[in-house]
């Protein structure tokens, strides 16, 4: 029996383009248990979506390829599966909710039929049975008047309602792992609150593990149990949520936390941005991708990727700065002076 619901070890996914090799995901590892939510946080181009797509075997090949790593779903390695087996994993064991509910639904097919189609594809059900289950699934994610709404087209749904349809489709076969890729980014805040609620309800109902991909640290703070911070294809830091927010060891995590305007902050406190621009993924250094933007860069940072060090319980960090120096630097940052007090 495997220890975890899902275990990803040293995942690397590269894209071989005409301009060169893009190391979109570079040696990423994490585990996920039942009823647990892991938040993957990072900015555009950090590799968070590619990591999730790799799990589902949805990397377009060519140009992309999972070049290394083990993706263990229980005792089975997703990388060694045939296309046939992979198709059965998608939908049955792992399901995904995409960012943009406007483009992920078929505009010329009735909503109920789309959900039923997903059910027929992954489970052996008759058409009428699948239809009944589809309406049930739509009702479960809080769509009022589900039998009537099932007969409507996506354009008749608001953004929040469309995202509920996506969730209904994803959970229609009780997946063990639910991947939500920026599920609320396109939605208004009051609707975001509703959708995050639906996701946690579904998680509790099916005892699933959830991988939540987002750039919003507020959403992470609200729903995640643990966090993985990605930058330039690398995991720079990971750990339980409180460790990452209150005892973070990586200068990039500090930078993220200090650049956020906060609702609970005293007004007009000046933000501390991360200097520079996001890295060019074709020109990432061998070492830490944060070089060039990191204010504490050392000589070895560019040439060699630092080994993992413990930052706290179940908390790992990759940084060449000596641990005592890291803590001293962090204590001087305004963001952490406040939270320490």
């Amino acid at each position: 029996m495997a220890d975890h619901l899902l275990e990803v070890k040293d995942l690397s996914t590269y894209f071989f383009t005409h301009a060169g090799v893009v190391k979109a995901v570079n040696g990423v590892s994490f585990t996920l248990d039942r009823n647990e939510t892991i938040g993957i946080v990072g900015e555009s181009g950090s590799g968070k979506t590619v990591a999730a797509m790799s799990l589902l075997g949805l990397i377009p090949d060519p140009p992309g390829k999972v070049v290394e790593g083990a993706l263990m779903l229980g005792d089975r390695d997703l990388r060694t599966m045939s296309d046939e087996e992979m198709r059965s994993v998608r939908g049955n064991d792992i399901a995904m909710i995409f960012q943009d509910p406007m483009t992920s639904l078929n505009p010329v097919m009735k909503v109920g039929k789309q959900v039923a189609e997903a059910i027929i594809l992954h489970q052996k059900k008759s058409k009428s049975e699948a239809r009944r289950m589809a309406i049930e699934a739509l009702a479960r994610v809080g769509i009022p008047d589900a039998p009537k709404r099932a007969e409507q087209y996506p354009f008749e749904f608001s953004g929040g309602m469309r995202q509920r349809v996506m969730i209904a489709m994803a959970v229609s076969s009780n997946p063990d792992v639910l991947i939500a890729d920026e599920p609320t980014t396109a939605l208004d805040v009051t609707i975001q609150a509703q959708i995050l609620d639906v996701i946690s309800e579904m998680q509790a109902q099916f005892d699933s593990g959830v991988i939540l991909i987002t750039h919003d640290l507020g959403v992470i703070a609200e729903v995640a149990d643990k966090v993985m911070v990605m930058y330039g294809g690398r995991t720079v830091e990971y750990g339980p949520i409180d460790e990452i927010f209150y005892n973070s060891h990586h200068p990039y995590t500090w930078g993220l936390l200090s650049s956020l305007p906060r609702l609970d902050a005293s007004q007009k406190a000046r933000l501390t941005p991360i200097k520079g621009q996001p890295p060019n993924l074709l020109l990432l250094p061998e070492g830490c991708p944060f070089v060039g933007r990191c204010p504490y860069e050392l000589q070895q940072c560019r040439g060699e990727w630092p080994p993992e060090e413990a930052g706290g319980p179940a908390h790992g960090v990759h940084c060449w700065l000596p641990a005592d120096q890291r803590l001293a630097l962090r204590a001087a940052l305004p963001q952490f002076r406040e939270s320490a007090a």
Binding site: E43, S44, S158, G159, G160, M161, D188, V189, T190, I191, Q192, A193, Q194, D197, H215, D216, L217, G218, V219, I220, A221, E222, I241, D242, F245, Y246, G255, L256, L257, S258, S259, L260, P261, R262, L263, D264, A265, Q267, K268, A269, R270, L271, T272, P273, I274, K275, Q277, P278, R293, S339
Partner: protein, 350 residues
């Protein structure tokens, strides 16, 4: 006199259907919005999509003609200005758009994008204009040597800086910022927000800052107007609004914003709003918020409440709310009266 005075501003878009494109209905995008902006101040317009915030921004500059209402800028009636007057006015009123990918012409060099306004307004000689463009790029934190490049050679944050340089070219007094940081990554967003603050101090600028992000609006604004379905439901000094929200929509919005602090998040109670924002083509009768309002009563379905300063409150004098049952604060205690607030009734019914 305020720098910008807006009263009763309306913008209704026709819905045309059929072969003959007959008007079959109206979208009430902005429906009677009033506010003043003082010189040097930042006015935040906040709300969810469909609230009409961006349309307000565009209507102020007459980028789209208003259906009704008045806008005066330094005492000049913007709505009645002639073509020539409008051109002069636009020197003083500029806009920065949301999408740094779509708002820059991909076939123009940065020097032409930033310098276009100078050419249109016949400012200086060619050499002077070139110098001014270099200066502008430097002001917004770009390298003047990049003036010969095209927009696609820049990242999102840099493009937004180009958009800001373009807006600054004619030394405007007022800049409408329409979701200027929404498309940017967190680390870049902070850079641009700091830049906007520095520019405001340096050039004595007045901002109207349109955004759906309440944290960003709180950070940058002196005054905040909360919009819902084409109307301002609450307007106040920023600090007061965030600490003493009175309108149930403001309360719900604030409670829905996740705070990047797990301990705080665990102890927070969320006010869940049911359902979606109704269509602005068919706004509810009475108070526009009543179908989703947790405090709704009979009176709310009769007429849209008027804007009134709420008396007996700890809140500031410049705090106005359009609600029959606003939250009030007395001696640090929050309460909601059982009796509707009569002053909010329209004049003919009060």
């Amino acid at each position: 006199m305020s720098l910008l005075e807006v009263s009763g501003l309306k913008k209704h878009f026709p819905i045309r259907t059929g072969v003959l494109k007959r008007t079959t209905g109206w979208v009430y995008a902005v429906d009677g919005v009033s506010f003043n902006v003082e010189k040097g101040e930042t006015m935040g317009l906040v709300g969810e999509s469909g609230g009409g915030k961006s349309t307000v921004g565009r209507t102020l500059l007459r980028l789209t003609p208003a259906t009704g209402g008045n806008v005066t800028f330094e005492g000049i009636d913007v709505m009645k200005a002639s073509r020539g007057e409008m051109q002069t006015l636009r020197r003083h009123m500029q806009i920065v758009f949301q999408d740094p990918y779509a708002c820059l012409n991909p076939r123009m060099r940065v020097r032409d994008i930033v310098g276009e306004a100078l050419t249109i307004h016949n400012v200086g000689t060619a050499a002077e204009r070139k110098k001014r463009v270099a200066e502008l790029l430097e002001i917004v934190g770009l390298n003047p040597e990049q003036a010969e490049r095209y927009p696609h050679e820049f990242s999102g944050g840099q493009r937004q800086r180009i958009g800001i340089a373009r807006a600054l070219a004619l030394n405007p007094k007022l800049i409408i910022l329409d979701e200027p940081v929404s498309a940017l990554d967190v680390s870049i967003r902070a850079q641009v927000l700091n830049l906007l603050e520095d520019l405001q101090d340096e050039f004595d600028l007045t901002y109207v800052f349109v955004s759906h992000d309440l944290s960003v609006v709180k950070h940058i604004s002196d005054r905040v107007a909360v919009m819902y379905l084409g109307k301002i439901v609450e307007i106040s000094d920023s600090a007061v609004l965030y600490d003493f929200p009175q309108h149930p929509y403001t309360e719900a919005l604030l409670s829905a914003v996740p705070i990047p602090d797990p301990v705080t998040e665990r102890s927070r109670k969320r006010i869940m709003l049911e359902g979606d924002v109704p269509s602005p083509a068919d706004p509810p009768k009475g108070c526009v918020f009543h179908p989703r309002c947790p405090r709704v009563q009979e009176i709310c379905t009769t007429a849209m409440p008027r804007h009134v300063p709420t008396p007996g409150a700890d809140a500031g004098e410049r705090h106005e709310v359009a609600c029959y049952f606003p939250a009030r604060f007395k001696d640090g205690q929050r309460f909601v009266a059982d009796e509707p607030f009569r002053e909010a009734l329209p004049e003919d019914q009060a």
